[in-house]
Amino acid sequence: MADKVLMKGNEAIAEAAIIAGCRHYFGYPITPQTEIAAYMAKRMPKIGGCFLQAESEVAAINMVYGVASTGYRVMTSSSSPGISLKGEGLSYLAGADLPSLVINVQRGGPGLGGIQPSQSDYYQATKAGGHGDFRMLVLAPASVQEMADLTVKGFELADKYRMTSMILADGTMGQMMEPVSLDYEIAKAPEKPWATTGTKMEREHNIVNSLFLQPDELEKSNNERFERYKYIEENEAMYEEYMMDDAEICITAFGIASRVAKNAIVEARKKGIKVGMIRPITLWPFPNKPFEKTIGKIKTYISVELSMGQMIDDVKLATKCSGEYVLCNRVGGMIPSPEEVLAAIEKANGGNK
């Protein structure tokens, strides 16, 4: 039998999490990510894990806080409106320097919005997951295989830096089915001497907390955290470059938008247009380096997004506003077609030729 299995993106996340050693899942159903919870409900009891449908998203994220405090790998998942509800908990996790994995399978917004795919939580994930100065590691898969791979990676990074890793997927990624290989060598999780595992009367007790009684101590904890963030920005950025060697036009896109863009690039290349793509895989840290290399070489950047234009801001910052910037987008649950992206490429190239 083949080594691969046919999985939905949501299932791939759930199974990869189990393989990575996650035995605690807390969630609340919401389309289009419900299969993660459904899969966990089926699998966890069979492997001695815990699946718990919480009474709300707020409850689920605080259960994550509890398990993370004990040092075990733990996750929750939701979709856009549910992630907003988790915002307070995400801030508390950051304040207490707890590792966790949070999945956002985005849907159209704002408000209750819709159930069709979207990428409009980019700002929320990369800049404002909750109150206070903090960051999350944000990973953006563009295939079912990457849904699984980045889940494993997300747990590893979360443990390494004592942070929340967020998988920022979209409804299409969650629902589509592709063959995946789940053959992973899982590294042993690092020691967690800070975890509340019981003192056995052999050590001082550990405290997991985000409240500081003295402002100067709170300032110090913020500064220390941002030293860590600086290191991550320099060392953990991930991206894919596609046909960038001789490119004069640069597409930027992540997740499902990058797949549509790839098709358009192939068509544009047939017409002799020198176009390539930089696909950020980590949205935070944003991969500045490949963009810096393009300054002076690229005249137009086309950001393909399922939002009103959010990542395009980071593209402008990374390229120091050195080019022209075009947004090619659809919103509200709609996906740009390869033809729409091709039209934007042709326009940037000086009209139809």
Partner: protein, 220 residues
């Protein structure tokens, strides 16, 4: 293929029921004039029978689908025209039921009339490349859950084992012992083994009752 008046398709979600249903409707249409395909999926938000609406209508096949399918109305709604299937005995119908026991619940509403008429087949769509139905035993577990939820018994198996776009002839051939094992422990005959058009030629002489599929929808 030979069909009863009503063909019900159930199985673990992601087994390819919708794709098989659409292709069986095409096949039915080549034999009968009055053909209906009904989408009774109350679980799946995306990738629905309705995605093939234009193609089905062009071929003169009537599509019965919840008017909310493919919209943002996230409720488990049943299409109101579904009673047409049991009321009008002149038509032939394929019913695409939602995945697992949760999806099969929807069938309970029209199951008594279908049982009473007793001119139906209930097909169990199986795929050994799905992670939760990789062997006969776990597949049997899903089957029992579905039968309990919809209060109907399966009559045959459809082996739809595939790995999506990457499916090779070998993958299909390798799934035959699995399908035979499911058949043995359930006592159900195998109605057909489904293969995508491109590999149909290379497996048709090697497997009994091969049913060629045309892929319904694809994302690049």
């Amino acid at each position: 293929m030979i069909y009863k008046r009503v063909t019900l398709l159930c199985g673990h979600y992601g087994s390819g029921k919708t794709n098989v249903a659409v292709n069986m409707a095409y096949d039915l249409k080549s034999q009968y004039s009055d053909v209906v395909i009904a989408d009774l999926d109350i679980v799946n938000p995306y990738f629905r029978t309705k995605d093939s609406k234009d193609d089905l209508e062009q071929r003169g096949i009537t599509l019965i689908s919840s008017e909310y399918a493919g919209t943002n109305v996230d409720i488990p709604a049943m299409p109101q025209q579904m009673y047409m299937i049991t009321d009008n005995k002149n038509l032939h119908a394929v019913i695409d039921v939602g995945g697992d026991d949760r999806g099969a619940l929807a069938l309970g509403r029209i199951a008594p009339a279908i049982m009473e008429e007793n001119d139906y087949e209930m097909l169990f769509v199986i795929n050994c490349y799905r992670p939760l139905t990789r062997d006969a035993e776990s597949t049997l577990e899903v089957m029992r859950e579905i039968e309990q939820a919809c209060k109907c018994k399966f009559t045959a198996i459809v082996n739809n084992s595939n790995l999506g776009n990457e499916t090779t002839a070998e993958d299909v051939i390798n799934s035959v012992p699995y399908a035979n094992e499911v058949s043995k422990i359930t006592g159900l005959p195998i109605k057909c083994t489904c293969v995508y058009g491109e590999i149909y030629e290379s497996v048709k002489s090697k497997i009994k009752d091969v049913f060629p599929l045309n892929l319904q929808s694809k994302i690049n």
